[in-house]
């Protein structure tokens, strides 16, 4: 289920224009222009090494862009970038107190965020004794300090167990309900699909697409397993158009509504094609992501022999 957009305005809070970062000859981020709107949860997706963290670092001023610009329309920012960084010999509470002093917050704010991430009971423990999940939660606590308007979370669920992931998901949804803008980088696509309003997909340093989750996933489709495939493909392309047919490991995916299935079956049978399976389906964000970032998957030469077996 996609998150319903209820609080998003059209005012951009984060804007980048042709943001570029080069390390020598290697282009880590290539002319990325993205916009995050006030009050939305924006999912920033990409494979490892795609340029997500470098982009976020440029946004936060940690890394200087080689070219382009990034602007943030608020000074109230919280961020957790590529894992938490704290003093191992200090307790969780003292680490947050250090951050609070740097930022001019009272100690009461430390207690508030400790409660928020459910770390109050372990606040006096040394950071070096924390589990990975607790360290991650402490990093989120530091990001939540001062009730920021914009929260940038880079892989916040890293190291969390399933319950911790669910808590983090609930936290992000809660933040968005409170009107805070969340820029979330994550590998967990189902999670992003569930909680994000809009997503941007980056690969090899380039922003491939930026849209709402619904637009990204496209409309409903029909999944067809049929043989012989070339004839099936020809019929499919005639009905759905060249752009409306994709070859996937599971068969053909056609951008057609579910009620087009009877007509499609008739056309396939008339063309001498055996229809093994036809299923109405919605593409998940994960499927779209892999299609965008793994070109080889969108041009699978033929189905596996197992998929050619007729359904008995």
């Amino acid at each position: 289920m996609d998150r319903q957009t209820t609080t998003t305005s059209q005012t951009p809070v984060v804007t980048t224009e042709a943001l570029t970062k080069k390390y020598g000859d290697r282009v880590a981020v290539d002319r990325v222009s993205m916009t995050v709107l006030r009050g939305e949860v924006y999912g920033f997706l990409g494979p490892n090494g795609a340029g997500k963290t470098t982009t976020l670092r440029m946004l936060l001023g940690l890394v200087r862009p080689t070219a382009g610009s990034a602007s943030i329309g608020t000074n109230r920012i919280g961020a957790l970038i590529e894992g938490p960084g704290f003093h191992p010999y200090l307790s969780g509470r003292d680490n947050l107190r250090t951050v609070a002093r740097f930022r001019g917050f009272a100690d009461a704010e430390v207690e508030r965020v400790l409660e928020r991430v459910d770390l109050a009971d372990r606040a006096t423990d040394k950071y070096k004794g924390y589990s990975l999940g607790m360290k991650q939660r402490l990093g989120v606590a530091a990001a939540l300090m001062g009730d920021p308007e914009l929260i940038v979370l880079d892989e916040p669920t890293n190291g969390l167990d399933p319950a911790g992931m669910a808590d983090m998901r609930a936290l992000v949804v809660d933040l968005a309900r409170g009107g805070q803008t969340v820029l979330l980088s994550s590998h967990l696509l189902a999670e992003v699909q569930e909680i994000c309003d809009r997503v941007g997909v980056i690969n090899n340093g380039r922003l491939l697409r930026q849209s709402t989750v619904a637009e990204m996933r496209g409309g409903s489709s029909l999944r067809v397993r049929a043989t012989p495939e070339p004839e099936a493909l020809a019929v499919a392309m005639r009905l759905a158009g060249d752009e409306g047919v994709r070859r996937t490991p599971a068969g053909l995916a056609l951008d057609l509504p579910a009620d087009a299935a009877p007509h499609l079956i008739r056309e396939l049978v008339a063309a001498g094609v055996d229809v093994l399976e036809i299923t109405p389906a919605e593409r998940s964000l994960e499927e779209v992501f892999f299609e965008m970032t793994s070109p080889q998957l969108s041009s699978v030469p033929e189905m596996s022999s197992a998929e050619k077996e007729p359904v008995s």
Partner: protein, 289 residues
């Protein structure tokens, strides 16, 4: 560009850094090491030589009367200063290097900077907190030395003659300059190296070995001799030497008379300013991973 960084507030940054420094065992270990060295080389070995009548490397044949006089309260400012060019400087260099460098290894600078804290303010706050600890080290060390000297005087039934305020002030000023210089050089090295290990290693090799070697080479090559006059070890050693004086083979290691006291003080002050500026400029300009 991003508009996120908050205005510089050095006071807030100093308080933040003070919190983490005073709870850091490494800081107290450094201070404890310095006090232990002061105890051993300032009083313990001298007192044992005085009490047993044996010569040791630390008294170099001094008479018992001389040994006792050196341990009296009036001489406490000199004892306080004698270890600074060598051991005190090295320890402060280590402290400065770990204060700056560990923040990169632990990712704490990244955390602070990503939350909108202005880089210059954060570094100035860290330098200020480090300076507070240098001053605390000075005060603790002097009180410790004075206490030990009074203990020796009482034990040996000597009159307790306190050092003059002028000599205390002079020793405190010179000691502060030397320790602050090495602490900030360590901070700059830790910043440049983005970690404590390399900066501590290189700093100690420089302070304890390379400068001494260069001074040796300087006796053969004029231009090297000129160069050594502006090196930090020469400046620090000469500043201390201008106060405690050189006493032949009895002179503590690192104490020199290569340049005059005022010239040495100016050179040391320049190194303090240079190290602070380098640290801030490097942090402001670099990418933080």
């Amino acid at each position: 560009m991003s508009t996120m960084t908050a205005p510089v507030d050095i006071g807030r940054a100093t308080r933040a850094e003070m919190l983490r420094l005073r709870k850091w065992p490494a800081v107290w270990i450094t201070l404890g090491t310095w006090l232990a060295l002061s105890l051993m080389f300032g009083y313990l070995f001298n007192y044992l030589s005085y009490a047993t009548g044996d010569n040791s490397f630390s008294n170099e044949g001094a008479t018992k009367a001389t040994l006792l006089a050196e341990m009296m309260p009036a001489n406490a400012p000199n004892v306080f200063l004698q270890g600074m060019p060598m051991f005190g400087g090295a320890l402060m260099l280590v402290l400065g290097a770990i204060v700056a460098g560990n923040g990169y290894g632990w990712g704490t600078w990244k955390t602070v900077f990503s939350l909108g804290v202005h880089r210059s303010g954060a570094i100035l706050g860290s330098l200020a907190a480090l300076t507070v600890f240098v001053m605390a080290t000075l005060v603790t060390s002097f009180v410790f030395d004075l206490g030990l000297s009074m203990l020796v005087a009482t034990t040996e039934s000597q009159d307790i003659v306190m050092p003059s305020l002028d000599s205390v002030a002079e020793a405190a000023g010179a000691g502060f300059l030397v320790l602050e210089m090495w602490a900030l050089i360590g901070f700059a090295l830790g910043t440049i190296a983005r970690g404590p290990a390399l900066s501590v290693g290189l700093g100690l090799v420089w302070a304890l070995v390379v400068e001494n070697l260069l001074r040796g080479v300087g006796q053969l090559l004029d231009w090297v001799d000129t160069l050594t006059m502006v090196l930090p070890g020469t400046a620090g050693g000469s500043l201390i030497g201008s106060i405690v004086g050189l006493d032949g083979a009895d002179t503590a290691p690192g104490i020199l008379d290569t340049v005059s006291g005022p010239q040495a003080a100016i050179t040391v002050a320049c190194y303090i300013a240079l190290a602070a500026v380098v640290s801030i400029v490097v942090v402001r300009r670099r990418d933080v991973a």
